[in-house]
């Protein structure tokens, strides 16, 4: 009886602690979202209130869409993110397959070489990356960003995918070889479909830092044509500091796609983390 009561008490305390932390985590985001739909007066008079018909206003969003080319920024971010992820997954899976499937001289060394980038941030090479991009005429192009993000995403992708590829059964691959499949066909038609869940995990891990990055867009592609959402929002807010409606709306526009994607992929992401994909 006593133990039952203490365990109820304990569960209650745990819930109190977790609910409070959840509030701390979500409150700032919630506050931004609700205030972006309010008129300027309401933002200051009752910042905590949910927008009512009398305080509802879209003036912030109007300013944002008129003044900044947010649709263009979204397009840029989307192109950069999707193309980079595609390259990371394709090249990463190919390299992971080579490392996990074949024994050849230098295999271990190659694996270590490719894993270096997990710990050493690519940012430290910025000085020379910029120099190289200038020499190649790629400054202010989305190509420059795609190249950098592909290189940045590869080490972790190869590491995670080769762990998973080791679990694909040898019998299956050997059966394919006996049936006369080439090594390429074995990779593309037998192995890739089997590691699809791991690919999804890698895609999510690769996506977040690319979508959120400010450093490389700021340095490699700051032009109006190639601004990503993160950089666009940063610069827009910098110009409109005093226009609270516009600032809050710009922030909400930058939050929403991430939130929507998270709601769709959160299971995948959390399963990926908790299944020990990153160890």
């Amino acid at each position: 009886m006593a133990t039952a009561r203490t365990s109820y008490l304990r569960a209650g305390l745990i819930h109190v602690a977790l609910v409070s932390y959840t509030l701390i985590a979500l409150f700032p985001v919630f506050l931004t979202l609700i205030n972006s739909f309010k008129s300027r007066n309401a933002i200051f008079r009752e910042p905590m209130a949910i927008p009512t018909p009398s305080t509802f206003s879209l003036v912030g969003y109007e300013t944002v869409l008129k003044q900044g080319d947010f649709i263009g920024y979204f397009q840029n971010s989307l192109i950069v993110t999707v193309v980079s992820i595609a390259f990371v997954l394709l090249f990463g899976a190919m390299a992971a397959f080579a490392l996990s499937e074949y024994r050849f001289r230098g295999n271990l060394l190659m694996g270590l070489y490719l894993a270096l980038g997990i710990m050493i941030p690519i940012r430290l090479g910025t000085v020379a990356i910029l120099q190289g991009m200038v020499a190649a005429g790629l400054v202010n192009t989305l190509t420059a960003l795609v190249l950098v993000y592909t290189a940045q995403g590869l080490p972790l992708a190869i590491f995670i995918l080769s762990e998973f590829m080791r679990t694909v059964s040898d019998d299956l691959k050997n059966a394919g070889r006996i049936d006369g499949l080439s090594e390429y066909a074995i990779f593309f038609r037998l192995v890739l479909p089997l590691v699809r869940p791991a690919m999804a995990t890698v895609a999510v891990f690769t996506m977040i830092p690319i979508w959120n990055d400010l450093w490389f867009p700021l340095i490699l592609a700051p032009g109006e044509e190639t601004k990503t959402v993160t950089l666009g929002a940063q610069m827009f807010i910098g110009q409109f500091v005093t226009n609270w409606n516009a600032v809050l709306s710009a922030l909400s526009l930058a939050i929403l796609p991430v939130l929507v994607l998270y709601v769709i992929f959160s299971r995948q992401l959390i399963r990926g983390i908790t299944s020990g994909a990153v160890k």
């Binding site: 602690a17 959840t22 985001v29 990463g92 050493i120 959120n212």
Partner: protein, 316 residues
């Protein structure tokens, strides 16, 4: 492994056709990674040994480092940034990781209701970009909007409110705590995963011996998740000594007020690109990047060769 390759070439010197497919599989990743990541990194390290003298790039040895450590203005900036970066890291280790462990420990309590919801919600800030997080907190802490003071008023702490981001003595701590708020999800998730991997038999055995609740956490679970705590520590270290975005967004490139939030990332940016009346300096930028590289390398090596080796790992 593959059946093609079971024979050791030393023992059976049969001439094998070159396995081109291995090369094809490895080449794209190897080329992109080498060209965009490794070569620029090496080039940056090399550039730190060169400088412009009379308009020409010449080899100057370690002169750039001597300048960085001893030039009155530059050295002051550098030591200030390094010191701030250390404080930034210490705050993360003392606040972010313990909170992360505590949240994970609570989430992993068996049969806890709504655990998925809590986990999903607490991870939300981690997904947002620094730009969003930085501006949101700037607005909340702004005395103009008054969200923070009025919330503190509810609990009777209004007198404690100050424009924390604007004061040199509190700005760095405030920025660090914002970063902690954003990143607490990562230690939480990794520790949570580690806790879930502890086999039930171990915990049942502990319960049979009368070790439950608090003492179970300290005596059984914590020693078992130590390797994961090691990993989050090194991830925090690398992330912190490479941080830039949040400070740039919240306090600008000058990392004000009065350089009190300047860390190595913002110093690198200002030195390399120049800011206001200061000219950009490529060699000095490369020098700072090299110092950051050495700091991160030292941390990672310490972890890989000393801490990880000593750590006892349990196999189940």
């Amino acid at each position: 492994m593959s059946d093609i390759d079971t024979a050791d070439p030393e023992i059976a010197p049969i001439k094998r056709p070159v396995r081109w497919h291995i090369l094809v599989f490895l080449a794209p990743a190897f080329l992109v990674y080498t060209a965009i990541m490794i070569l620029p990194l090496i080039e940056t390290l090399r550039l730190s040994l060169y400088n412009l003298v009379d308009g020409e790039t010449v080899f100057v040895g370690l002169a750039n480092f001597v300048t960085l450590f001893s030039d009155p203005r530059l050295a002051a900036n550098f030591w200030n940034a390094l010191g701030n970066n250390l404080i930034f890291f210490v705050i993360h280790m003392l606040v972010q990781n313990p909170i992360g462990v505590a949240l994970a420990a609570m989430l992993s309590v068996s049969k806890l209701r709504f655990a998925t919801f809590y986990r999903t919600a607490i991870f939300v800030p981690t997904l947002l970009s620094f730009v969003i997080v930085g501006f949101i907190w700037k607005l909340i802490l702004s005395p103009i909007w008054g969200i923070a003071p009025s919330m503190m008023d509810w609990v009777g702490l209004k007198w404690m409110f100050a424009p924390w981001l604007g004061k040199p003595e509190s700005a760095l701590i405030t920025v660090s705590l914002i970063s902690v708020w954003q990143y607490v999800g990562i230690p939480m998730m990794l520790i949570y995963a580690a806790l879930l991997n502890i086999p039930d038999e171990v915990l049942e055995a502990a319960e049979c011996d009368g070790i439950t609740g608090w003492s179970q956490f300290w005596k059984i679970k914590l020693p078992l998740i130590l390797p994961s705590i090691g990993i989050i520590s090194i991830l925090t270290f690398v992330g912190n000594f490479n941080a830039f975005d949040l400070i740039y967004t919240v306090q600008g490139a000058l990392a004000g007020p009065d350089g009190s939030t300047d860390i190595l990332g913002t110093l690198l940016y200002r030195t390399f690109f120049g800011f206001q009346n200061q000219m950009g300096d490529r060699s000095m930028g490369a020098t700072i990047a090299t110092v950051m590289f050495l700091i991160i390398l030292a941390g990672v090596s310490l972890y890989l060769f000393v801490i990880q080796r000593r750590m006892r790992r349990y196999q189940f």
